[in-house]
């Protein structure tokens, strides 16, 4: 009897699949977002220094608000730019 692993597909069935988005703060239990941690905040802004939407990062609403708060604080205190080109 052929097991599931023995079946060969003509094309890789995983190619068309989308990976499910998730909120990293919920998954890893990160409760506090530090505005001084620039490297971490870089995950949530694009090359121009703009905040990435939830659509892309997958953050939950609660943590997206905290991220935006932290990024704005970092900008105010001169750790992140308000406008930039080719940041990454």
């Amino acid at each position: 009897m052929a097991s599931r692993e023995d079946i060969k597909f003509l094309s890789n069935p995983k190619i068309g699949q989308k990976r499910k988005k998730y909120c990293r703060f919920r998954r890893f239990g990160i409760k506090f977002i530090d505005y001084k941690d620039v490297d971490f905040l870089m995950n949530f802004i694009n090359e121009q220094g703009k905040l990435l939407p939830r659509r892309i990062t997958g953050n939950s609403m609660k943590y997206q608000r905290k991220v935006s708060q932290a990024v704005k604080r970092a900008r105010f205190i001169g750790l992140l730019p308000y406008v930039a080109d080719l940041m990454k």
Binding site: K31, K36, I77, G78
Partner: protein
């Protein structure tokens, strides 16, 4: 121990607990002019921390970041000396006093005071204990794939 003494001890304990409950924790980051000499920068920062200490603040931690490049020029300066002071106080009015002093002081380019919630307090404790960096690295490995743009 005498039973009455015991009670008194308990009462004092309760009082101190309450006192700590009222004490809110704040974190203040400020940027000092880089053109000053190293000693002058330290003196300026010490002036503010002493001011806090003199007003019954409990200083939790002082961090000297050293001179850092700013992301954009502030007052025509491209770098600044960063300091972060974490303190506990029950007197919120002290914050406005501190910020007034910052505003009047030409040596301070910018300041930001935030109040820390319980997660923030714990985060800073863990960070000082060196727990955060490792955790972050681990989560970063897992994060990279789905965060694609």
């Amino acid at each position: 121990m005498h039973p009455l003494q015991d009670e008194a001890f308990l009462f004092i304990n309760l009082l101190t607990n309450f006192y700590h409950f009222v004490m809110k924790q704040y974190e203040c980051t400020f940027i000092i002019e880089p053109v000053l000499s190293g000693d002058e920068i330290k003196q300026t920062a010490a002036m503010y921390t002493d001011h806090l200490k003199n007003n019954q603040c409990e200083i939790v931690h002082i961090e000297d970041w050293g001179i850092r490049q700013l992301a954009y020029p502030i007052n025509n300066r491209t770098s600044g000396a960063y300091f972060t002071v974490e303190f506990k106080t029950e007197n919120g009015g002290l914050i406005s006093e501190l910020e007034l002093a910052f505003r009047r002081d030409e040596r301070v380019l910018r300041y930001l005071t935030i109040s820390l919630d319980k997660h923030g307090v714990k985060y800073n404790q863990d960070k000082r204990a060196g727990l955060i960096g490792r955790k972050r690295d681990k989560s970063k490995q897992n994060e990279e794939a789905p965060a694609g743009e």
